[in-house]
């Protein structure tokens, strides 16, 4: 039921992007989810590193 519930709508929006952009978004959401509860949160440098790894 893609597009009718929230998860479906969000997935549809993300799937419109190219594969490597989807990977970046997935990574950002994962670390920001963890950051909500971490004393020493992940930094932007980790995302920069990730982007450099996937875009070569």
């Amino acid at each position: 039921m893609s597009g009718t519930n929230l998860e479906g709508k969000v997935r549809a929006e993300i799937q419109r992007a190219p594969r490597q952009v989807q990977d970046i978004i997935g990574y950002v959401l994962e670390i920001e989810g963890q950051n909500l509860h971490l004393k020493q949160p992940h930094t932007k440098d980790e995302i920069v590193k990730f982007i450099k790894k996937v875009v070569k």
Binding site: K9, I14, V21, I25, V28, L29, L36, V48
Partner: protein, 662 residues
């Protein structure tokens, strides 16, 4: 999170060990704690929040140790103030204990060491373990930023439905529904984008550097303007609040009441007209952007008609002989005159020549269609202008109505300003001055917004130019691709945030209304506006009016909002997938019936047990009225009474209420 038991030892009013078990049964899910003012209801709520987060919202927060315990201590003796909360979460049992040790020195009670916190839980094998980072673990179960939606003072909860507290609603939606993760992601990616942009600038050529510098300047300007715009917005809002409070004052004065009531009516009318004016302006814009080209096609239509007629005159169309017909003759190798058409014969060559003259059916159909379209162009042009004129007439009509209502409002203002009662005249003069200032603030806000829009368009143009840049040097080319990937991720994540926010708003609005209609009369409904304001409206959705909210109604709207959040968070947690995880949360309320009249009390009391899996309410005897007791009693699982001993120093004990179904 299911609350199991709260144990308090020597904490604030509570002397010795006091324990409360919470109701968990599905049918009897309400725990009621009775207590008169000062008996320790609010301290109990604070015991929960102190235990979980170490925060206290009471006078003298440093005085944690019970006074009677303190009085009984000998010089140099130690005593603990402690709170233990047992709860379960996703089939795991937890016990969190926070305590502070005190010592008596020279007759004074002083903290002895730091506050300590322990969190024990049963693992998958049923064995007890201790969490290394108790605060982090607790925050994962019920984050502190969300506690105020689940543990709250009922008398202050009406704040959520106040106009200037829309940020609290947005925060609540963001926190409970998990939108915060996406929002943080957007912020973080924006910082990453800046980082990658500066790398590209460093590696790029002169043109690249120039474009990025221009972009950076625009970004800076947009940032400054956004700050200014927000300030104007806040100023206007504050002035609007002040005007509302003057209106309220005027309503309370006998000599001004009638005029103020007329003004209220006219203001509502004005709001409706403004909305209609806005809608029709939008329709006008759409009409011109969709059909505006029809006004400029005369020349094309004329030229097309001329060309078609010339072709007809020359006999090019219709051609008289069709391509398909000639193809069929050649395929069958037989002419219509009966002669054979073998390959290489002269007769066949003659027929093949017809192919060049024969008309293509599809092409001719298109020419005929084009001719018909060209004939319709003048009609469509006329219709476009007729519709345009009608829309403009309607808009002028609304503008006249608006001017007329504004004139009537000015007259009312003149009458109030000219009143003999100086209090009224002064209030009205102040109101006028505020109104003019507010208009200036709104206009400045609009100017800022227009400039921001203009700069953002320039920013997009620069981005397109950067995209078009041909970067030959390998390192710079890689930096450009990385920046582009980040830009795409950022715009996708922003789109995700907008989609999610709009979806969640709609979902919450529906839930809140389901609950709100149970609480309040049927002809009212809650609207969660585009700007996240909780507004109570009367009538149906096409002919609504804003209903002025009393404190009690605001309280009901806010309770319904929290109920809606709890319900959606629970559903999400049961689905258990995606970014928007939700959770199962109890609702703990201190004095939820504070400002409610008899009817609302009954309705709220009936609805409360359905708000969450577990509901805990603290009530005084004046709030535990007959109608509240009648509605809640069938759902009570546990019931306690806070017994206050007035013997100095005072202390409180928790007793199981005699009529409770324990």
């Amino acid at each position: 999170m299911i609350l199991e038991e709260l144990i308090i030892r020597n904490f604030r009013q509570y002397y010795g060990r006091q324990a409360i078990e919470f109701a968990k049964d599905q049918k009897h899910n309400v725990t009621v704690i009775h207590g008169e003012n000062g008996a320790g209801k609010t301290a109990l709520l604070n015991a929960l929040t102190w235990c979980l987060y170490g925060t206290i919202n009471l006078p003298h927060p440093e005085k944690l140790l019970n006074e009677r315990t303190a009085a009984e201590m000998n010089e140099g003796e130690l005593a603990d103030a402690a709170v233990i909360l047992r709860f379960t979460e996703q089939n795991r049992s937890y016990a969190v204990r926070r305590q502070q040790t005190f010592i008596k020195v020279d007759g004074l009670i002083e903290p002895f060491g730091e506050t300590t916190i322990y969190l024990q839980y049963t693992d998958e094998n049923g064995e007890f373990r201790e969490a290394k980072n108790p605060q982090v673990a607790i925050d994962q179960i019920l984050p502190e930023r969300m506690r105020s939606y689940f543990f709250f003072d009922g008398e202050r909860i009406d704040n959520l439905a106040k106009e200037d507290n829309t940020h609290e609603i947005v925060d609540a939606i963001r926190n409970v529904m998990g939108l915060e993760v996406v929002e943080r992601g957007v912020r973080r990616l924006d910082a990453v984008r800046k980082h990658l942009q500066s790398e590209f600038k460093r590696l790029g050529d002169t043109e690249t550097r120039g474009l990025i510098e221009a972009r950076e300047k625009l970004e800076e300007r947009i940032k400054e303007l956004t700050i200014k715009k927000e300030q104007h917005e806040r100023n206007a809002k504050a002035m609007d609040e002040e005007i509302k409070s003057i209106d309220q004052h005027l309503r309370s004065l006998d000599e001004a009441r009638k005029l103020q009531s007329e003004r209220d009516k006219l203001n509502r009318e004005l709001e409706n007209i403004k909305q209609l004016y806005k809608d029709i302006t939008e329709r006008l814009r759409e009409h011109v952007s969709r059909y505006g080209y029809r006004a400029f096609r005369d020349r094309i239509a004329f030229k097309a008609g001329e060309l078609i007629e010339e072709s007809r005159a020359r006999g090019d169309i219709p051609s008289g002989i069709k391509e398909q017909f000639v193809q069929d003759l050649l395929e069958e190798a037989l002419c219509i005159c009966g002669r054979d058409l073998p390959e290489g014969s002269q007769a066949r060559r003659k027929v093949e020549e017809w192919l060049r003259k024969a008309g293509n059916i599809a092409f001719e159909d298109r020419v005929i269609e084009a001719a018909s379209l060209a004939r319709r162009i003048p009609e469509e042009k006329d219709r476009f202008f007729q519709d345009l004129q009608r829309l403009m007439r309607d808009r002028e009509n609304f503008a006249r109505q608006k001017a007329s209502v504004e004139e009537q409002l000015d007259e009312i203002s003149d009458k109030l300003a000219g009143q003999d009662v100086s209090e009224i005249a002064n209030l009205e003069h102040k109101r006028r001055s505020l109104y003019n200032d507010m208009k200036r603030e709104i206009s400045s806000e609009g100017e800022c917004q227009a400039l921001i829009g203009q700069y953002q368009r320039s920013l997009s143009a620069i981005d397109k130019e950067i995209e078009r840049l041909e970067v030959k040097q390998a390192q710079a080319s890689l930096a450009k691709r990385r920046l582009e990937a980040c830009n795409q991720a950022l715009s996708t994540l922003k789109a995700v945030y907008d989609v999610a926010k709009a979806h969640v708003r709609g979902e919450i609005e529906q839930r809140v209304n389901d609950i709100f209609r149970d609480f309040l009369r049927k002809d009212f409904y809650v609207d969660l506006t585009d700007t996240y304001q909780l507004v109570i409206r009367k009538g149906d959705e096409s002919t609504f009016v804003d209903a002025a909210m009393s404190q009690g109604e605001r309280q009901v709207a806010s309770l319904a909002f929290i109920g809606g959040l709890v319900a959606i968070a629970k559903e999400r947690s049961l689905r258990g997938d995606g970014v928007f995880k939700g959770g199962v949360y109890p609702v703990v309320m201190d004095s939820p019936f504070g400002y409610l009249d008899q009817q609302y009390r009954r309705n709220v009391a009936r609805g409360l047990p359905t708000m969450a899996n577990q509901v805990v309410v603290f009530v005084s005897s004046s709030q535990w009225s007959q109608e509240v007791a009648e509605e809640i009693r069938p759902r009570i699982g546990k019931e306690y009474r806070l017994k206050n001993h007035s013997k100095v120093p005072e202390f409180t004990e928790v007793e199981v209420a005699t009529n409770a179904a324990n």
